[in-house]
Structures are given as structure tokens and as C-alpha cells.
């Protein structure tokens, strides 16, 4: 009873005091958890405090997003016409551009110039742009890779594969030994999108992806078909546990952590949980390119991005920009790495070593960041929502063996064309 009863009059008091003193208040929505072992909420609070001087008297008022999730609640807020000044939300690309298109977001080009946010390279800047202007500041970055059970590999005399053929041979050896090669659970529908993004990039390469996403190349091109077929073949060849379309993402990870599966292909967003849960020596390697002639690389995505409401007053926007500049500074990055358990954009492998990040974290990011020019897109934060909602079920059917690779890609192509006709496509 106490906290809620006090918070209302207290908030009113603060608000009136603030109004009286003309303090600028920046309302912030984010979804950093406050409790839990790897909660980044406390780090966020700490940084709000340390960044206060940079704000010149303005205040940041932080709210954790509704339980329905920040993505859905931001959409509700946009439609109700009442968005928070600052929100750390996702996805970027088409969803972000959708909001930009309807005028809900303030452009950040001037702030980028003013503060020199160069750690945001062209790849990331593009993902946060619409129609030539940039509308968000991405902070976290995520990579994908293959977590593997080092101890198990050593025991069975297996080595990390450097080519796709070696990877296939490795899987066959594991199967013969009765070990599940790759833990995978797609009941939540999104894990397959990540896996497919990885396979796609390693089969088609970034250049071809960009021809499809930003140009007129159809989804049904041969390289994409090969990628879809590869994914389906993996499922058919028992790379994954039985009934994977009914296994949850966490359960699949638990399967890997319990030692019953040798590998799992997922991303850095779950690194901390993996590190804590693994009772064995764990390592990460990058999946080799699937198709001949395609450069090595991995899927590179941002966790969330900071976006500014178009309806925020100029003083609020300036204060927010100053605050953001502080949040992505090297000093703050150190706090994010050490206490927020996340690796912000711009962090170098050397810094990770310097700041004492976990060896697995270092291993992951060192390999992943070695290929910035060929790293490719995460499908499900890149496509328009209406296409994503087709991608999810169709992917389940593809790996479940219910549709062929051609049918799958045709379904996506149809949804893609409709989305394009409706003006939903993201063009940076």
C-alpha cells in the first residue's frame, strides 16, 4: 500500500515543484528489468544519475514499459497521441520508419552532427533512417553465433569447423553418437527468423540481401531458395531436437545448457544467461559461409534504439539529446559493459578486454566484429510488420516440412509486394 499511495501525491509535488522552477522533464520509457541476475535496470538508473550534470538542470523521469511489452505499448501510445519524450524501443527499420512516416518521431540529423555520434556506422545509421533522415540512436548491438560445448567437443575429439562441409560432417558425427547437434525451439516463432537470417546471409551475402530489401530483386532468387532449402534440410536431417516447433526458446537453451545438445545457434542477447547457466566450458564460433564464394560474416542487429517524440518541446529535445550523448560516451559504455551486461555499439574488443568482460563475451564479439563490412541483416526487425506476420508462420511450416522452399519464398514475395504497394517498405 505504501509505495503506490505515496507515489501519487509525491509525483504531484515534484511536478508542481518542477513547474514552479521551470525544470525541463524528459519522460523515458524503457524495458530494462530491475530484478534478476542480469538486469540492466540498475545500470540505467546509475547512468541517469551520472548523466544528470550533462542535462543542465533537466530531469529524466523513467518509467518501465507496460507488461504488454514496449513494442506494443509504444504503438498504443502513438495511436492515442501521447508518446513519451524518449523511448528505448524496438524494432528499427520498417517499424521505426512507419512511425517516422506518420510524424510521430523527431529527426535527429542535427544532433548527430552536433554530437558526432560516429560510432554509429553506415549500416546502423541506415537501419535507423527513413527517407534520408535519421530518427533514432541505436545503442546496443547483437550478433549471432554458434554456442558450443567445448568440453563435449574435447571429449569427442571434435574441432571447431572452418568450412560448411566441416560443419555438416561435425553434425553427422554428433548424430551418430546420439547427441542432439543443435538445440532449437521455435514455439515462440521468432527463433527461426534469427536462424534463417543467419543462413540467408551466409548463402546470399549482404549485397544480394540489399538488392532484395531496397531494390527490385525478388525473394524467389536462387540464392534465397538455396538458403530456405538448407534450413529445411537441416530440420529433415535431424539437426534439431524432436518436435522443435513445440519447444520454447528458453527450453531449447536449457537443453543446450544441460549438455544434451552440443550446440545452439542464437545471439548475444542471451549471452549472460548462457554464461551463468553453463556448467561446462563453453565457447562460440561463427558459422562458416554456406555457399561458395560468400564472405564470412554474421547477423548484426541492434537490440533497441532511442527515439524522440515529435511532440516533445524543443528544450526537452535538447536535454534528451545531451542525455543520450552522455549515455553513449565511452565512460558510460564501460558501465553498460560492466554493470548492464550489454555491449554497446562502438565498443572495441580491446575495450572489452580492458574492462574485464567475460572471456566468452570477448570471444563472441571479437569474432563477430571482425567482419563489419559483410555482416548482414536480421530479417525480423528489417521487414515490414505485415510481412513479418507472414514470415513467422511460413517459417514454422518450412522447417516443419509442410511447404517447399519455393512456396515459402513465394508467400513472402506476395506479402512483400503488398507491403510495398502500401508504402510500408523501409528505405533508409
Amino acid at each position: 500500500m505504501t509505495r503506490t499511495a505515496w507515489s501519487a501525491p509525491l509525483a504531484l509535488f515534484i511536478a508542481t515543484q518542477a513547474a514552479a522552477q521551470d525544470t525541463v522533464v524528459v519522460t523515458q520509457w524503457d524495458q530494462f528489468a530491475q530484478s534478476g541476475i542480469t538486469a540492466a535496470g540498475p545500470a540505467m538508473d546509475e547512468l541517469i544519475a551520472t548523466c544528470k550534470p550533462a542535462l543542465n538542470g533537466a530531469e529524466v523521469l523513467r518509467t518501465i514499459a507496460p507488461s504488454i511489452g514496449i513494442r506494443d505499448s509504444y504503438r498504443l501510445a502513438v495511436s492515442a497521441g501521447k508518446t513519451p519524450d524518449l523511448a528505448y524501443t524496438w524494432p528499427a527499420a520498417s517499424v521505426l520508419s512507419g512511425y517516422a512516416r506518420v510524424g510521430a518521431l523527431a529527426p535527429l540529423d542535427d544532433y548527430y552532427a552536433q554530437y558526432g555520434w560516429d560510432q554509429v556506422n553506415a549500416f546502423y545509421k541506415g537501419r535507423n533512417s527513413y527517407d534520408g533522415h535519421v530518427y533514432a540512436l541505436p545503442m546496443e548491438q547483437d550478433l549471432m553465433g554458434v554456442y558450443y560445448n567445448k568440453a563435449l567437443f574435447a571429449e569427442k575429439g571434435l574441432t571447431v569447423p572452418t568450412t560448411y562441409a566441416e560443419f555438416q560432417a561435425l553434425v553427422e558425427t554428433l548424430k551418430a553418437d546420439g547427441i542432439i547437434p543443435v538445440a532449437f525451439g521455435n514455439r515462440d516463432r521468432w527463433p527461426a527468423t534469427n536462424s534463417f537470417s543467419l543462413i540467408l546471409g551466409l548463402t546470399a551475402g549482404r549485397a544480394l540481401e540489399e538488392k532484395v530489401f531496397f531494390g527490385d530483386e525478388p525473394w524467389t532468387n536462387p540464392a534465397f531458395v538455396q538458403a530456405a532449402q538448407t534450413f529445411q534440410d537441416w530440420a529433415k536431417a535431424d539437426y534439431f531436437p524432436r518436435g522443435f516447433n513445440g519447444v520454447g526458446y528458453d527450453e531449447a537453451n536449457a537443453l543446450f545448457l544441460s549438455g544434451k545438445a552440443a550446440m545452439t545457434i542464437t545471439g548475444t542477447w542471451v549471452l549472460q544467461d548462457m554464461i551463468r547457466g553453463a556448467k561446462f566450458d563453453m565457447g562460440v564460433f561463427m558459422l562458416p559461409p554456406v555457399k561458395e564464394g560468400v564472405a564470412p560474416g554474421t547477423m548484426w542487429g541492434e537490440g533497441s534504439q532511442w527515439q524522440l517524440s515529435a511532440s516533445a518541446a524543443p528544450e526537452v529535445r535538447n536535454a534528451a539529446a545531451a542525455y543520450l550523448d552522455c549515455l553513449v560516451s565511452p565512460e558510460s559504455r564501460k558501465v553498460w559493459v560492466q554493470k548492464g551486461y550489454t555491449v554497446p555499439i562502438g565498443t572495441t574488443p580491446e575495450e572489452l578486454t580492458q574492462w574485464g568482460a567475460n572471456p566468452v563475451v570477448q570471444e563472441f564479439f571479437t569474432s563477430g566484429l571482425a567482419t563489419p563490412d559483410t555482416n548482414f541483416y536480421d530479417l525480423h526487425t528489417t521487414l515490414p510488420e505485415s510481412v513479418t506476420q507472414v514470415l513467422y508462420p511460413e517459417l514454422q511450416r518450412l522447417v516443419g516440412g509442410e511447404v517447399t522452399a519455393d512456396e515459402f519464398l513465394q508467400a513472402i514475395q506476395t506479402a512483400w509486394e503488398t507491403a510495398g504497394a502500401n508504402g510500408e517498405r523501409w528505405i533508409p
Partner: protein
């Protein structure tokens, strides 16, 4: 007597209901006639959004699933409830009380929690169902239940039935207990077996309850949401997609408010028609 006092009696309920239910329904109906972009209204388009229904394969699949759900619910938990109630009616009051409490307990479990629990039971890796099948030597029947398009909807319906059959038992029991025992005595004198008494005496006299439960089940089968959302979210593929999940996704994930409103209106029209039928039939009794 003037109408005034009655209106005062009605006012609180009407105000509450009007503000938070009727007004949103009218708003959503209005939404359906406009085009939207990311939750911001654009322009009036008349029935253009409605025209999309014809080519929306997901809508028709969802509608089919709702219909299947209605049939499954009528076939299984309703019949089971009837049979169980008839069987229980002849036992001691203590047994009746204990058993009907046991059957009703699943109803007290929120669908969100039920979804989580049954998700575990059905889990292909460590779930009870496959484990049990393995133990009794029927391991070959083990499957991915919620993960396979062929079994997902039925598996979920078993969960829905689990929460519903106890409710049916309770309703039927209440009705059975008001049946005149002399009717059964007459049949006993003729030497009629149990199932014949059940079929010829019990069932017809319970028509009212059956009608009520049947229509209740049908309407619920059209508007339920929580169970599917917590387990499969409409998957695998589109196998468990129903109207409410399609509406939710269109509103929140795709952000197409106009079309989502259309789907809502269609759903409302369907359930309103069903209830109108219900009311007409119940009144005729």
C-alpha cells in the same frame, strides 16, 4: 408507477457499461471505415477495408478453426459433462460434492496459467504426455502435439475442455436433481438398463441446460483468446489461428487499425447473431 425510479436503478450499471463497453464498440465500428497508418487515422474509405475480407486467407482459416473449436467443445466436454452428471447423480451427496468440486477446479485456474501448465505436459522434450506414453510402451504415438499442424488445435481443445467440463457437470447436476424421481422408478419397473434411462428420460429433460451450455460454449469458442496466446500464438503455421489472435496481431503487431477494426466488427456480428438465436430459443421454452 412512473418510469423514473426504474431509471435510477438502472443508471449506475448503464453508465458503467455504456462508457467502457458500448462506446469502445461504437468507436471500433467507426474505425473500420477509415484507413490507418501506424495507429494514426488517415481518411474515410467507406467499405474498402471490408473488401479485403474475401481475399484474406488467414481470416477464413481462423474462422474455420473457431467453427471446429465449437464442434469439438460441443462433442467432448459437453457430452462428458452430461454423462458424468448423470452418473454422479445417483451417488451419495458426499460423493457428489467431492467429485463435482474436483471436476470444477480446473475452471478456477486462469487460462494463462493453464496454458503454461499444459505447455509443459505437451512439451516434446520433457513433457508428461510423451513420458507417459513411453512408459506404457506407446512411445511411437509420442509426437510434438502443439508443434504439429495436424494435432495443435485438437491438443489445445483438450485444455479448453479440461476447464469447461466441470462447469457442465455442475449445471447438469443441478438440473438433474430437479427431475422427478418417479419417472425413473417407472422405468426401473420396466427393467430398463441404465443407458436407456439416460437416453430416454434424462437427456430430453435436460434440454434447457443443454441449450444453455451449448450456446455458452459456442459463444466462448468464438471469443476466447488467452489460451491460444499463451501457448502457440496461432502457430504452428496458421494451425491454431483464431479470430481473436488475428485481430490482436493486426492491431498490435501490424498496426493496421482499419482492417483490425473490420475483423472486430465481423466477430461481433457473428457472436451477436449467435446470441440472438440463443435468446430466441431460450425464450421460446
Amino acid at each position: 408507477m412512473s418510469s423514473r425510479p426504474a431509471y435510477f436503478f438502472l443508471l449506475p450499471a448503464l453508465l458503467l457499461y455504456g462508457t467502457f463497453v458500448v462506446v469502445p464498440i461504437l468507436q471500433v465500428t467507426a474505425y473500420s471505415f477509415f484507413s490507418w497508418d501506424n495507429g494514426i487515422v488517415q481518411e474515410f474509405v467507406g467499405f474498402a477495408n471490408y473488401a479485403r475480407l474475401a481475399s484474406d486467407t488467414v481470416f477464413w482459416a481462423a474462422l474455420g478453426h473457431n467453427a471446429i473449436w465449437v464442434l469439438l467443445t460441443l462433442a467432448f466436454p459437453l457430452l462428458a459433462g452430461l454423462l458424468l452428471a448423470a452418473m454422479l447423480a445417483e451417488r451419495s451427496p458426499r460423493t457428489i460434492q467431492v467429485m463435482s468440486a474436483i471436476y470444477f477446479i480446473p475452471r478456477t485456474i486462469p487460462l494463462v496459467v493453464a496454458g503454461i501448465i499444459w505447455g509443459w505436459i505437451y512439451n516434446p522434450l520433457f513433457g508428461l504426455l510423451n513420458y507417459g506414453l513411453d512408459m506404457v510402451g506407446l512411445g511411437t504415438l509420442a509426437g510434438a502435439w502443439l508443434a504439429e499442424e495436424s494435432s495443435a488445435l485438437a491438443s489445445l481443445n483438450v485444455v479448453g475442455a479440461w476447464t469447461f467440463f466441470g462447469f457442465c457437470v455442475v449445471i447438469y447436476l443441478g438440473a438433474i436433481q430437479s427431475i422427478d424421481p418417479s419417472l425413473y422408478e417407472a422405468a426401473d419397473v420396466d427393467g430398463a438398463p441404465w443407458w436407456r434411462k439416460f437416453r430416454d428420460i434424462t437427456v430430453p429433460l435436460l434440454n434447457n441446460s443443454t441449450l444453455f451450455l451449448g450456446l455458452y460454449a459456442a459463444i466462448e469458442a468464438m471469443r476466447f483468446f488467452d489460451l491460444i496466446w499463451v501457448t502457440t500464438q496461432g502457430g504452428p503455421g496458421y494451425a491454431t489461428e483464431v479470430l481473436t489472435t488475428h485481430i490482436y496481431k493486426t492491431f498490435f503487431l501490424v498496426g493496421d487499425f482499419g482492417y483490425a477494426a473490420v475483423l472486430s466488427v465481423v466477430l461481433l456480428v457473428i457472436v451477436l447473431s449467435l446470441s440472438a438465436v440463443a435468446f430466441r430459443l431460450l425464450r421460446a421454452k
